[in-house]
Symmetry: C2
Subunit: 338 residues, 2 copies
DNA sequence: ATCGATTGGGTAATCGATTACCCGGTTTTC
DNA sequence: GAAAACCGGGTAATCGATTACCCAATCGAT
């Protein structure tokens, strides 16, 4: 370890300035020098030190991304989309998981900022507890939120229109004949959890159907399984259940079927996200599709525009979701089928 | 942005040396100075620049991790385990995905090295094509491979004993009465893919049962579904299928059931990994458990020991897997049941 | 009282790459 | 033919934190 540009310059018999210029091409050098430098680089196996470059340039060519957990297929999908989006822009991604803990999240942000990332993409794990850390970060560096956001609107956000999504789902099952409906979701610690719940309740109330008490736990398959069991134990089944994500929906369907309930004949189930196993589970899941690629592209674009802590009012870019009807709900006329 | 230790020193009325000492505690300062520096830090909101520190110290407090893809639950599980393992050691993790492409992998390694990570944990995507990039990286920085490895043994490795794992699986289904068996796995571009296939074939041959041609595609649910279809189309079903991972197994079970085949009565299926949905799918999957936490701990420990490019012979640490019998295979006497 | 040891503070070198600035030589322009 | 513009090369400053080295003051021991 430790071939520096000085070594290259010496080996090529030129100054460091010339070596640097030959390498970066930001000023012309004679072909002769370019040649000698190229040879020296190859010979010595020189690899530029990005740390030194970052210090001098005051820019690292790196953006940080913090998501609640990489066990959740929705987040891995969006991470992959962001990576793809960044691919050809030369910047690369520093990925961290907050493990659904605002404390861990704050620490991760801290170290990303210390490493002087040029920007941050974050899905804050808690709508309230994440506020100080996120605002603080946004003051120092361009930051955009994705999917989840903090309350108060202090930072830019790109995501899906959660309320519209669950409304789509609720209206779909109601149009399919559901007279009583329920919601299986997450405890409302995140914006998505809250909006999907409230959007569902509003849509159901508007349609005038009976609303059974919601089942609130976590965004996991395990909780879906558990929610399904509780539904069975409660004795009375709703005609349809709208779920806050696909994992919950898949778990719920599993429990219901194990309990002898037919899906969608007895109970219709609709998920949210349309990532991971939604197409491949049994039966294929009706769900609300998040336009993940679009969100990632938008987030990256927005990140390029925002300057750290500028006074411009925070933007919220909500992308319209789309209902995908598969086989856990009865198809009705005007919806996209696959 | 831009409060430096010089600003702190000025505000506190001391030299940068004293400020640095007060902050790091690596030399004593008077309580008076410590106090003044602490106040200045709080007032100015000073945050040390990790880039500058890294340049001066020649160490970044960061290790890089490269896995083929974060869509695969096995890799996300091991990433999480490594993160946990690193948590209290103060070093943090730079995660990259090679997207199963040796070219992308080489680029990622390149940038991680340029950023001067203190070590690398990698699961090389291709047993042959990954060789030059991995060896090159190992020459510059401590490196340990996890799960997958490159041929030729030029770098340390921690993983599960793949052959022992599939042997466990094969012997289990044979003990359960299978007279004909098949294997559903990935094309042999990675060490795990190769070893699991060859281990299976050896175990089956040893037991003297009939071996149907293997189904080789990718480590995905989609491929599992496809493999199941091909099995159905082939007309002749084996008594048991051993799969190279859980995703394939789950997809295979789904296809078989859709085709009216009962699992495990008509065909027994065993997976590999025991991560993700293995416990929660229907029916719960019999599989070979990888000791992920142990592997992560071992990898981190080993990384602490190896020096870059030292001539010490490469170690291979294979951890014994464990068979977990659930409901896609017939239970036999002496195996762990859950 | 004096000398060596110890303590704590400050100055400036260091890490590696980039680039502002300077300088001598060549070309262009009127 | 002189002035202006241009070109390509080198020296040294710069980014921010750490620390080797130096120095003055204090302490303890004889």
């Amino acid at each position: 370890m430790g071939v520096t540009i000085h070594d290259v310059a010496r080996a090529a018999g030129v100054s460091v300035a010339s070596a640097s210029r030959a390498l970066s091409g930001r000023r012309r050098v004679t072909p002769e020098i370019a040649e000698r430098v190229a040879r020296a680089v190859a010979e010595l196996g020189y690899q530029p030190n990005a740390v030194a470059k970052a210090l001098r340039d005051q820019t690292t060519g790196t953006i940080g991304m913090v998501v609640p957990g990489i066990g959740n297929p929705f987040f891995t999908t969006i991470v992959e989309a962001v990576e793809r989006e960044l691919q050809n822009s030369g910047t690369d991604l520093l990925l961290c998981a907050s493990q659904y803990s605002p404390q861990v999240e704050a620490r991760r942000l801290e170290t990303l900022l210390a490493r002087r990332v040029d920007g941050l993409i974050i899905s804050p794990c808690d709508i309230e507890a994440s506020v100080p850390a996120v605002l603080d970060a946004a003051r120092r560096v361009p930051l955009v939120q994705v999917d989840r956001y903090i309350e108060g609107g202090g930072a830019d956000w790109v995501g899906v229109d959660d309320e519209a999504g669950v409304t789509l789902a609720a209206e779909h099952v109601i149009a399919g004949g559901a007279r009583s409906v329920s919601f299986a979701g997450s405890r409302p610690v995140s914006s998505s959890a809250r909006l999907r719940l409230s959007g569902f309740e509003r849509a159901a109330a508007r349609a005038g159907v009976e609303v059974l008490p919601p089942l609130l736990g976590e965004f996991t398959l395990e909780w879906g399984v558990e929610a399904g069991r509780r539904l069975l134990d409660a004795g009375r089944l709703p005609d349809a259940v709208v779920c806050a994500n696909d994992e919950i929906a898949v778990g719920l369907v599993r429990s219901l079927r194990l309990g002898g309930v037919r899906v969608p004949e007895d109970v219709a189930v609709v998920g949210f996200d349309d990532v991971g196993h939604a197409t491949m589970c049994d039966p294929p899941l009706s769900t609300v599709r998040q336009p993940v690629e679009e969100m990632a592209a938008e987030a990256v674009r927005l990140l390029g525009q925002v300057k750290a802590g500028d006074p411009r009012p925070a933007q919220r870019i909500a992308i319209a979701p789309r209902l995908v009807v598969r086989q856990t709900s009865r198809p009705v006329t005007a919806s996209v089928a696959e």
